[in-house]
Symmetry: C2
């Protein structure tokens, strides 16, 4: 190699091979790492100290500022290597290997969030990422992936979160019941979003019941919240259905519930 000329990694370069394995959950779990692709995610990741471990970029990156910010963590790769690392067609020449960011539930609650979203058994990574993004927008401080929930570091979840994975406290807690108990001990009112719930969301809002610090429980698109978990909540709340739809999809219901809380918490002057 001539001095000053970096040789681009190929798909067979060991570091690229190792990074590519992070497309699989098994390897993400084993290494505590994940992949973030495209300029938006890479920019957000770079803003979190210690998060970006490696940044792979094509020879003429469209975002030289991000490559410069990564310093000696950045390495040029061939177009073929970038295509092998990326799950989308248009990662705009950037894929980062990141350290997983999740905190324990105790650490997340130590930040005293006034709004928390709990994804229990959510299996679809697009839904998981969308709920994370919506929770961030609504001002939630933490999002808990509980029970058999999808891996929030799944590539599709990372992309759907649109950077919010890097903004809020992400918690992974296998035991949903223990999660509810800890949330309540921390002073949060626990509300279960449940299409067959006894309480109407608008009635709770009218009664001023949404202004308290609140954790929302959301279940899987296919099965809703497990009954045993919904029963642990302080209330089971339904979003009213005014038309003839049977139900809302998970992401829409979560948006309506989280924003109802955000509005109530603000209109009473937190």
């Amino acid at each position: 190699m001539r001095p000053g000329v970096e040789v681009a990694f190929t798909p067979r370069t060991p570091r690229v091979v190792a990074a590519r394995r992070l497309q699989r959950r098994r390897d993400r779990d084993a290494t505590g790492r994940f992949l973030a692709e495209g300029p938006q995610a890479v920019r957000e990741a770079l803003a979190v100290p210690g998060c970006v471990l490696e940044l792979f970029h094509t020879a003429e990156p469209r975002h030289p500022d991000l490559v410069a910010a990564a310093g000696d963590r950045a390495s040029p790769v061939t177009d073929a290597a970038l295509a092998a690392l990326a799950e989308t067609v248009q990662p705009q020449g950037l894929v980062a290997v990141c350290a997983q960011l999740d905190v324990t539930l105790a650490d997340g609650l130590a930040h005293r969030p006034r709004l928390v979203a709990v994804c229990a058994d959510i299996r679809d990574p697009g839904n998981a990422g969308t709920v994370l993004r919506t929770a961030d927008a609504a001002g939630a401080g933490a999002v808990v992936f509980a029970g058999e929930a999808v891996d929030p570091y799944n590539g599709k979840a990372v992309r759907a979160s649109a950077g919010s994975l890097f903004h809020v406290d992400v918690v992974r807690e296998p035991d949903p019941a223990a999660t509810v108990a800890a949330l309540r001990r921390s002073g949060l009112r626990v509300l279960a979003a449940d299409a067959r719930g006894a309480d109407d969301l608008d009635d709770l809002a009218d009664a001023g019941d949404l202004a308290a610090p609140t954790a929302w429980l959301f279940g899987s698109e296919a099965h809703g919240l497990p009954a045993a978990l919904a029963e642990l909540a302080d209330a089971r709340v339904r979003v009213p259905i005014h038309g003839r739809a049977e139900s809302l999809n998970l992401a829409a219901a979560a948006a309506i519930c989280l924003y109802a809380s955000a509005r109530a918490q603000r209109s009473t002057g937190r």
Copy 2:
């Protein structure tokens, strides 16, 4: 053929071949037909007089009530034929050929809807179907697909609508500006959902400005509303972002806006 024994259609039977072509927009546009698969969609379609033209079902359908309701429109098909007709892995043995249902904007407005959703240039069929489902749940009477919007009869849109395609007045109107003019002539307040809008959704709700009959304009996920269209609205409204997310996704923003209107319209005693 022995009397009383129906021979199941194969993938090469002309009626199956013709139905399968409806997976393509060109053939849907040319014939005015589309496909609905699975028991939920078929049940909703059968409830609309004249909508189901043919119902293909496997030899031992899991929903014999729906096959019976289709009468002589029902035909048994081989598993291979059903697999060829279906776009999902689990259509539960049912695919219907349906007549397209959309009405003109004038006819939709003649029903005097108090809440309307306009999807302008929405390209993703999953988003289009989700907005349709959410609009139905919020009590909207009509959903307008304007401009270069995706075909609402796209298979993925039909599935994401979860039956709501059969509940609300669906309108296809190529000219978005003409749509806005007609909505306003019909007495609807036209609000543009716009992440950079001057008005905050919560402020409008607090001021009682959402109780009037309202049409919401939603733009594409990638590009938002075209500026020329947003300027035609009575107000450009942003959903407040309380956290660090840059924006909400289209379906989440639409859910929050439509439900804010639904609540305001009801709390003032429509």
